[in-house]
């Protein structure tokens, strides 16, 4: 899928060479332009766009979902389809992160729908966190409260966080073939302690697949951040339905 674009690339005119003044765009144009700027990883433009929309009276939640999350969803789809690559996704993520940094305190003040809570971390022996950070960011963008344990997490650290935070979801990430089996160690320990059924366990990482997720006893394997968000929403809704039934 290509990005919706106010000023499509490849249609150069004199106007393209003029600087776009974000504050002069209508709300709809500005949101589309922010999708473009996010796609291009333009951090300062995103910060400016966020501030303009807030000044125009937009709720922080609407700015987050309609400008940032919607823009990052386009980035995610193009990454999945092989149109964008990791460096471009990282630049877009940096831009979104900068926008979210402005919105976070405002979201706390104004309130926003809370979808649930997630504890997430990369497993022991593994220092890779790019995918995990993207998932954490998109989960936050979708309204989840996220506690990020960082990298190289032992089973003890996961269990401690679960018991202290009581999240809905545990997310585990691994990039290496050699470290991904550690996810099973964590899940087996949860079973031993009688904790397994209290949490939704989602796993992800480049060498994983659905079969691996099933084999280790996770609830789902999520191949990218967008899938993680959708899967988390489905499982949380199911959990709430079970509780209210």
């Amino acid at each position: 899928m290509q990005n919706a674009n106010l000023y499509p690339k490849g249609t150069a005119t004199m106007a393209d060479e003029d600087e776009i003044i974000l504050s002069e765009l209508s709300d709809d144009e500005l949101v589309l332009q922010m999708h473009d700027d996010l796609y291009d990883g333009l951090k300062e433009e995103i910060e400016e766009g966020v501030n303009i929309l807030i000044e125009r009276g937009w709720t922080p939640y609407d700015v987050l979902t309609k400008a940032l999350v919607a823009g990052m969803t386009i980035v995610g789809a193009d990454f999945r389809d092989g149109i964008l690559f990791v460096p471009e996704v990282l630049l877009a993520a940096n831009a979104m992160k900068a926008g979210m940094a402005i919105l976070k305190p405002l979201l706390v003040e104004t309130g926003a729908p809370r979808m649930g809570k997630m504890v997430i971390g990369t497993v022991k022996g593994d220092i890779h966190d790019i995918g995990k950070n993207l998932v954490a960011m998109m989960m936050e963008g979708a309204g989840f409260e996220v506690l990020d344990l960082g990298i190289n997490n032992s089973v003890e650290k996961y269990i401690e966080a679960l018991e202290a935070e009581k999240p809905d979801i545990l997310g585990m990430s691994a990039l290496l073939t050699t470290t991904m089996p550690y996810m099973k160690v964590v899940i087996d320990t949860m079973k031993e302690k009688g904790l397994r059924d209290d949490y939704i366990v989602l796993v992800g990482g480049a060498p994983l697949n659905e079969e691996f997720g099933r084999a280790i006893g996770a609830d789902a394997y999520c191949r990218d951040a967008a899938v993680a968000v959708e899967t988390a929403k489905q499982f949380v809704a199911r959990k709430h339905n079970q509780i209210s039934a």
Binding site: F85, V86, P87, E88, L90, L91, G125, D126, I127, H128, D129, I130, I151, N152, L176, T177, T178, T179, M180, A206, P207, L208, N209, F212
Partner: protein
Amino acid sequence: MALGPATLDDETLTEQGLALTAQDMASGRVLLIACGALAHEIVALKRMNGWDHLDLQCLPANLHLWPDRIPAAVAAAVTQHRANYDRLFIVYADCGTGGLLQEKCNELGVEMIEGPHCYSFFEGNAAFAALAETEFTAFYLTDFLVRQFDAFVWRPMGLDRHPELRDMYFGHYTKLVYQAQTDDPALDAKAQDCAARLGLAYERRVTGYGDLAPALARVAGA
């Protein structure tokens, strides 16, 4: 383009691999289907040991940029050549396929080299596993990857265009370990430069061919 072993060019090994020559196909009984990143080492071992009955076909080394494509590429090569050989041996480790390559090899009835990746079997799988607890913040390069650092690390990660991303990729790494298959001062210097560009400490470790040598000896002798 078919490239004979006498003219191993790294860029071609990265992009295209190494095709079998007509001469190879007439003489070999065993075919090694390997990653292009291992071509130099396999050719050197063949030469040192006189394993003329082992033919070599390499798939493009840059398949490592898309590990999910490796099982299908290996399967296609197996299907193409298996009728012409008594035995096929796959010189790929798991290489980020999450067990899918092993599964594919099982399905095809062919053997592959053991280990999670070439850093492991060059070090020796047992030795590498023993280091896992203490060395998981190391970034490894082999001879081939030192020579092809820009093609496999710098450019695919976008560091040529966006050097500011470096610490997002490498912020948690502490050192670059150059696993030297050969004694080459020029490669040593280049590897040191790679470490500096990534902002990492540098260590050169002579591994030679590690577990690759006995694995191929077993195939050659079987």
